[in-house]
Amino acid sequence: MVDISANFLGIKSPNPFWLASAPPTDKEYNVRRAFEAGWGGVVWKTLGEAGPPIVNVNGPRYGAIWGADRRLLGLNNIELITDRPLEVNLREIKQVKRDYSDRAMIVSIMVPCEEKAWKTILPLVEDTGADGIELNFGCPHGMSERGMGAAVGQVPEYIEMVTKWCKETTRMPVIVKLTPNISDIRYPARAAKAGGADAVSLINTVSSITSVNLDDFSPEPSIDGKGSHGGYCGPAVKPIALNLVAEIARDAETAGLPISGIGGISTWRDAAEFLALGCGNVQVCTAAMTYGFRIVQEMEAGLKQWMDEKGHATLDDVIGRAVPNVTDWQYLNLNYVAKAKIDQDACIKCGRCFAACEDTSHQAISMVGPDGERRFEVMDDECVACNLCVNVCPVENCITMERMETGAVDPRTGQTVTEEYGNWTTHPNNPGAVAAE
């Protein structure tokens, strides 16, 4: 029997699916419904310090890009942290946690980059009975202009400093939420670790302008003819998030640091991929904002079924399994030789592979069969196995990359395929190659 219960930093939840800090977790009403729907935990929408409530724009907060059928592919927001009074949020968090003690309750916090501010709010949060805190060093819009959010997350020294203040002040596990709007994710992750963080979570949203209105030349979402960059999320950012997660998971300095994975997770499969790259759990937002809370049921069932089929009994059997396979380009096996192969029975003869290969790649696909018919074939003597044909083919598994057998001669290079591993570091064309001993 598959067990998908999660234990992240000692915080237990019946499944690894948490709702990320965002509008879905802004109040008791939503969070109760989320828990009823089956979510394993929530990160409560970011609290700020006591005082006059946050003010949001009164026009559109979200922008999006869509497929032609209006399937939402990427979402952008310019909403700020919670605009409800601190005491209301604290009271509700306490009540919900009391009623759902088996679910994870994490509270996201963002206060000014001053020790006093952090040390003032932490005891208030601790008093709710919350399981942990997440430091919002990621929000790229609005708050960052006031020296908070991504403005902190972009300066490793600040990350370390604030994390330390928190660790000194609270018993609660501290998760540092990282912004992707940096040049090298390893530095903020190392800083979080140096500050004593129990975990990092990533990614927060990517700075973005979703589109430009070509009638009035205003960026979208447009507020009275003007737009400001927002934070981009949803399926479109998943590949970015996967890479940043992997960078931290395989960095010698941060390896083993627990990671909560975030970024475009929409299905069980997305979640499983984040787990495989080293995440102890995942956080979801855009998919819930697009389809509602019920999607967690698909995620739960799908993850269980996949684990069952693969013989993975617990999440620990999955977490980090792909990390050793993430490497640098220089270590990729240059002796691995593949050729594209087109399944003629599956081929619908659209010719997209031909157009892509002929116009933009290696001119390795022919489009005329022996009897002059419309037939697309790979020319092995030209194919470099770039995979573009596979990517543009509209039919699943119609074009596949087939590994050449050891001992076969690659008709493109005339070289015999060897089973020996060989990478760039030892390649004769590399001026800096080290002699293989």
Partner: protein, 435 residues
């Protein structure tokens, strides 16, 4: 008492005005912009696309669909009109299921082609709300006489006008449009679209329509050749084959034309029991419309099998869906007091043979749709009953071109007539500019 579907004999007004209006409304509702966007997204933008190859006018279908996807239906329509100035009508009447949509790779992939015809209609509907987008070249001082204001003649005239020639179209009927106006089922081209398209097309300028003037006593081919620098014949097939046997059959072509021109469908007579003889689009159009007018029983009788019918599978299904019965392998042999008598047929060694077995269908009205013919023109070579043309449409007589149904080759489709008219215009233009 108002007649009903059960009233014996032939009667008008079997159905009330509202029911008739509903029955003769648009067969395929136009796409909304959203529907068009979703459908356009299904197009794979194939390389050397099979749909484009299958289109007799070679419309760049992937490109126009991409332009719809990109929110530019007007540009999409321009792509269509570049190849086919009657793209609006073709979007409505083309048997797409045997042309572009039959070879769509989505048909191969999942049995559901991209709905190219409806997308074409979406784009052309948007564009045809504004003037036609082509400009005329500087005047050449040449004039061309075009006989027939049907698809071939109109396409030829428009292309000639684009090239700067002055065109006079002569048509025997009171209105232009040819079969688009007189010969196509009403539910395929509603709201006076055929006339609107003629007006829109002629908006390019340089084209004069002499309606009510056909080739004949008052206007000979010699007159035209004298009057114009070139002549294009797109006069269609003026004659209809008649059922012999004294069966009292009327022409399905006339029936359709009367229906198309009727101001009030309740005034049109139709039998309680209608028998249509034939197997082409005209047979289906006549049968379906008889049913829609309120006939109780409508039967198409065709002397060969389903596969041999010139009407497409879609048209046959449409007939069945509207309640028309199609009977294959039977030919009319005479009439009896009970109706019309048919003999079963079979494919023998030497062609079609009667089996000697018969059946009788009640028939208050018999419509013959067994083909149309060309009355041969003096001074032109003919083959198989049509004017012999070379590629480009030149006839055996210098200075005279022909295209559409009256010319050899082709397949009796609107879209083919358009292609032939267009190509003949190019040939005429080259010829005139050489001389």
């Amino acid at each position: 008492m108002r007649p009903s579907q059960l009233t014996s004999g032939i009667a008008a007004g079997r159905l009330d005005k509202d029911t008739l209006a509903e029955n003769f409304s648009d067969l395929h509702a136009p796409f909304t912009a959203h529907e068009a966007a979703v459908e356009a997204d299904r197009c794979y933008f194939c390389y050397d696309a099979p749909c484009m190859t299958a289109c007799p006018t070679s419309i760049d279908i992937p490109m126009f669909i991409r332009q719809i996807s990109a929110g530019m239906p007007e540009a999409a329509a321009k792509t269509i009109f570049d190849q086919n100035i009657l793209g609006g009508m073709c979007a409505r009447v083309c048997p797409t299921e045997t042309l572009c949509e039959e070879v769509c790779v989505r048909e191969t992939a999942e049995g559901e082609p991209v709905e190219i015809g409806r997308l074409q209609r979406f784009a052309t509907d948007v564009a045809m709300a504004t003037p036609q987008p082509f400009a005329r070249a500087a005047s050449t001082g040449k004039t061309v006489g075009v006989v027939g204001a049907g698809p071939a003649g109109l396409a030829c005239a428009h292309r000639l006008a684009m090239h700067g020639h002055d065109v006079v179209i002569y048509d025997a009927r009171p209105k232009g449009g040819g079969l688009n106006e007189y010969g196509i089922a009403a539910y395929k081209t509603v709201d006076g679209f055929a006339q609107a398209e003629v007006d829109w097309l002629m908006g390019i300028g340089g084209i004069t329509l002499e309606a009510g003037t056909g080739l004949g006593a008052e206007l000979s081919l010699d007159d035209l050749a004298t009057k114009h620098d070139a002549v294009f014949l797109g006069l269609g097939l003026g004659g209809v084959r008649k059922l012999g046997l004294g069966l009292g059959a009327t022409s399905a072509v006339d029936f359709i034309a009367d229906l198309r021109q009727a101001a009030d469908l309740t005034s049109l007579e139709v039998g309680r029991n209608v028998v249509v003889v034939g197997g082409g689009m005209t047979a289906v159009d006549a049968a379906v419309q008889s049913k829609l007018l309120g006939a109780e029983n409508v039967t198409i009788v065709y002397r060969r099998g389903k596969d041999a019918m010139a009407a497409s599978g879609f048209e046959q299904d449409l007939a069945a869906q509207k309640g028309v019965t199609i009977r294959h392998w039977a030919q009319p042999i005479g009439s009896t007091p009970d109706g019309m008598e048919f003999e079963y047929t079979t494919q023998g060694d030497n062609g079609l043979e009667g089996t000697g077995e018969t059946f009788t269908l009640p028939a208050d009205q018999v419509l013959a749709a067994i083909g149309q013919t060309l009355n041969p023109l003096d001074g032109l070579d003919h083959a198989d009953g049509k004017i012999t043309v070379k590629p480009g449409g030149a006839t055996s007589r210098k200075g005279v071109w022909a295209g559409g149904d009256c010319a050899s080759g082709g397949d009796d489709l609107t879209v083919t007539a358009v292609a032939e008219g267009r190509d003949a215009a190019e040939d005429i233009h080259n010829s005139l500019m050489e001389g």
